[in-house]
Symmetry: D3
């Protein structure tokens, strides 16, 4: 019998069995409504490879990945080109994760994948709030007539959760109408106290990786200058460690647009950071 030792085919430091996990990482390689540069479908598999370039210990969070019990479930196989069926598949699987008493960590794919995941999560946590990191508002009523679009995902979520239960960080691009909506509900926050109202709430955390500045994150579909440094995002995540996050995702990495693979390495570290606070 072949004896190895073998390198793992799973995410760095993930547990072997679904049953042992408190968190389930689920890859969502869907980029069907992307309006500019596609390719986020390749993010989950490339992040898995890149995860092995990370240390297990994080000096920022003073924590070791071996103390985080998460299972790498792999990527869903989608019916290509059928947006609705893909979203339904996500919702079904995320529902199962919460039914099993575990937390969901989604790896996009484009931002629209957050909608069905949020819907599933909301079935289990009635007053679910949203913390949303992004360069773009994603608050459009529709995009070229399509209501289920990456550019409308937070609008759809707001219609479910109430826009007063959404806080947005890093937003720097959108239409006049979207910014008006943001102002109406004061969703955009710039400092930690903007999260004061979420202290005793359950939180769904969604990170569009383009919230980071394109200098550190060129590998994304719609790079937008003027973003957060990694250090700024990390401080936000360290602060969020004090909150009750019940689900999360990291989306919109498009690895092929950054041939240095730094974008993938940075996004892998952000995923590790999120695992530290889930």
């Amino acid at each position: 019998m072949i004896s190895g030792p073998f390198l793992s085919k799973n995410w760095m430091a993930s547990v072997e069995d679904y049953a042992d996990a408190q968190i389930v990482m689920l890859g969502l390689p869907f980029d069907g409504t992307c309006s500019y540069r596609p390719g986020s479908r390749f993010a989950p598999e490339r992040l898995r490879l890149a995860s092995w370039g990370l240390e297990e210990f994080s000096p920022d969070f003073c924590k070791d990945m071996n103390d985080v019990r998460f299972f790498d479930a792999g990527e869903l196989e989608f019916p290509l080109g059928n947006t609705q069926a893909s979203l339904d598949l996500i919702e079904k699987n995320v529902n199962e994760i919460y039914s099993d008493g575990k937390k969901f960590l989604g790896i996009g794919g484009e931002h629209l994948v957050t909608l069905p995941a949020f819907r599933a999560c909301k079935n289990f946590f009635k007053d679910l709030c949203v913390v949303h990191f992004d360069a773009h508002t994603d608050l459009r009523e529709d995009y070229l007539g399509e209501k289920n679009s990456h550019a409308s995902v937070i609008r759809r979520i707001g219609e479910i959760a109430g826009f007063e239960n959404i806080k947005q960080i890093g937003i720097r691009s959108g239409t006049k109408e979207e910014f008006d909506l943001m102002n109406e509900y004061s969703t955009l926050i710039h400092s930690f106290d903007g999260l004061d109202g979420f202290r005793d709430k359950k939180i769904f955390l969604t990170i569009d990786i383009d919230v980071l500045d394109p200098s550190i994150m060129p590998g994304t579909g719609t790079p937008e200058a003027g973003g957060l440094t990694y250090a700024q995002l990390r401080e936000w995540l360290k602060y969020l460690a004090n909150f009750d996050i019940v689900g999360a995702d990291v989306v919109e990495l498009a690895p092929d647009y950054d041939k240095s693979e730094v974008s993938t390495a940075v996004a892998a570290k952000v995923v590790r950071d999120v695992l530290m606070i889930l």
Copy 2:
């Protein structure tokens, strides 16, 4: 008044007015059903830029582009993420081109764009045949349940035109079932005499650029080793100059996957070659 002179924003050697043209070049930046590496949506605009690296004279065809009267209509604007509405838009516009007594030259985008263009063309030429250059058969009944897919486009066209009216060149990848269908109708040909039956027919010419070997055409969604050299494709096109081609397209260039931009330069030359024989 500003006097220039200015570089043109249109394809090299295109005519100024639609009315003066015998051929209408129409960009079709759609890649919604792509199953592997997306990005052919960027091909039409990049081919336009690259066209200016070409000479107007072709020693291979002994012809000058100034003797080809074609109009660069630009790219269609699609309702993003809505495959059916996009296909309908193509069909409508190609219909208009033929109604105006002109020939259509489509610039993909993915291969599915050929289906509505062929449908429109067939309205005007009842016994329309198809000459199909490709690495892949594209003869699947469906792809993950979807009938309108880049992987099924020639199957759909065969259902309209009759598979006996299709000839395929360069095919080297597909399922067992697809190759059985090819054998049943002897669609796959390897030498010029395979086109003997098309001598007096009207022909729609569709070139999936991945028919070329990936050594010369890395910039495509699904590169497949063992393809034609450019010289081989050029000889086929020179032979096709003897036939009555009433419509054509060149599809599946994904320019961002070839950072040397050689793929785009080669595809631009193929488009020039097609213009020489239309």
Copy 3:
């Protein structure tokens, strides 16, 4: 008749007719005196493509591009390899723009293109001042004997305008002699009050895109570490909105050196910012 709808071949949100414009955008694809990495000749056409990845609304400037009436004149066609004739062509066209009562926005090309544009502008505004963003002083007497060089452009302009009418921002590279000249005239400024003397003056704004740090702007001929962040440049531009800018250019983007195309996307945003304040 073919009915579309078609994507525009012009810059995002530009007006259809020259007559309707207050600002004329003119592409200047010249890089003939570049001393290190050439390729800025490709910037205007690539910025046009990239402009479609931008939103029309800017939350930073609280303004919509539809309220900016600018015309995209396209690129000048230069007599290749003939520097003097190229410069003359620029001067002639910019003269025409000002004769028509419009403002000029140049898109380089290398920095030397600023010289003839400034000359033309100065014909119409006698006490014209210069605000110059750059990593390099560009104040050399000559470069390898050539007086008309990208490395001497601000020296030449200073000889026309008076060095006391030049303010420089972001400079971090040059010879000892150049820094001595900067000190003599106190051209280098580090905070907004350095512009106090320009309050009631007409200003020509010239932005060498390498003023940005190479982390966000690798796609330039001579990347120089230690530059401005995009946010810093944006704040300067927002402050400049209070001044009377009568002409401007953005130069030295070399798009092929940044295969992620982030440099082009960022430069397009800078161009949009400049349009907001012209």
Copy 4:
């Protein structure tokens, strides 16, 4: 319980259980003695991802991958920087594969990994011959004093197997001494009949992927112009289907040197071809 469906983390069409397999694919991410451009350590994991871009059916071999029962064992974990211990680990595992009555298919890594694999294989097949595809002779006595080097691997194997039992194809680079040795034993062959002596022998097949021309295989450590086309290599492999191959490997893909990922796609197809004839 989460129900998926999930994409596989293993090679396309591999079997689930080691016990069911006739062939064991073993990744060997070692490039410690590479003398020019390192990075073949990343080949096994990237080939696994790329395998999903292949069809299961091969029209060239008229065979379906589902009829090939191979197990993807994953990659060995090497004691980094310790060449001898790494080679020992390979030998031990390959021994186990043959002890279990299965065939070995190695995925390099650099060419030195072939040495311990060959040694293990030779334990089970006494008169083992070698068919060696490569651009380089790899017949050096040593390389800068090191006997265990990618540049000496065939010399070492020849010392074990006898040089008369080695046939080489595609060689086009080496020292005068290496070519003298090749001439002495007539190892270099140019047509199928060069393999006539191997008809009734057991064969170990080793393919250094740089045997392919750099036009189709830029992603390798030491690209050497003048190589085989993919079609030529495929014809050799189709001919080898008539021989008794008991072990094989494909080595020296350095995926990061070809950002179009065509090299990886082509190498994945070569691996599929080898699986068809093992």
Copy 5:
């Protein structure tokens, strides 16, 4: 006789003769124990080319390279794959440099090259201290069993110099055990006063270029988000100008991972900065 003028094949502004130099720049193209992305072996030759894109004058240090008398000795030729012999060769040559009364400036290669250089330097300066810029602690007892590893280099140096004589800047990745060791000896410092104890000491300065943020330094083996900006590193170096630095190196640039070549340009500037303070 051919008269030129010719471009130099040496580093910008280096002196012609070894005898005239106070500083000797020595290239160390060794990356044999690299655990993730290899390629730092190519750094010395590429930095030499890139040095010609720098100005001779530095406004930051108010100094001209012509006032720095350094000799570009070229790169050592290593016995490939033999770590110990390579390290010995470095130690021997650095010894010779100090024997000649000159200072050593090493250009890596991976970080392990610092160990023999430090050893040689320590022969001449008994109480030698270390200032260490890096993203990683490099304090492991061993790496996969190997004691001579890039991941253990500072541990080995600390065993020689005493950990109380090491100060580290920019560290953000390591194991729990490494951070415990750092805490025990307070090696990690965050502000200038952390260097107070080194005022009257001789200092060996070692800069792993990945101390810089990957936004500005993607071209390195193990990019780690959250690093220093170039401006921050430059301020540290300006402060270090007040100290007695007797030897230095700059290591771990892997130029091929940054195709924009910005990483190489930035590292060349860092080398120039170090030359200014040696």
Copy 6:
């Protein structure tokens, strides 16, 4: 005294002293009249680095580089932006090489550098013929009014040498007028016997590297599909070994357009081939 051993900073296998050489390799980093993609200025320095990836022995030419006595003179330093002065500098230096009784091997830069070199060579060999490998005719009367242009270089040379003394190989792009001129003088040849008339003549060999197909040579300014394979070019060069070549150059490599660096490796091999037959 530092003892090394050191890697050479010169071309692989070049001799130390000019006096000992029969051939002088001279780098000509000039690309001032390039009409499409500039960057051939970087070819000489990159070819020098790449030369070290070649073996000294060539099995094709059965010859060792140590039997070729050539001196690597380095690159000329040009007065940037001044075409005429640059050409004069080349002519002067090449004159000196021939005055010293040596042969010239130029490394471009763009093709215009051949003109002054040819002029100098013709001073010493009255009936000098030209063998010209290229994708483009380079026979234009002028290019946008400029007579000294890379697109006119062979026209200028023909005016000096007589067009009957020029043979061209690989040409596949040009204007109608250029092809008419080629036909008039039967310059274009397709087989070895086309060189019969040159048997007893002195030959200047000029190779525009874009004569190779872009599949193997993407790194050039104006890639043109349908070119020679490396093997075809090598066979021509082997045949030319029977002729009396008194000077040669290899031009138009633009290394930055091929990030795999295969173009540079292939061009280096072509240079080695030329050295074998000079």
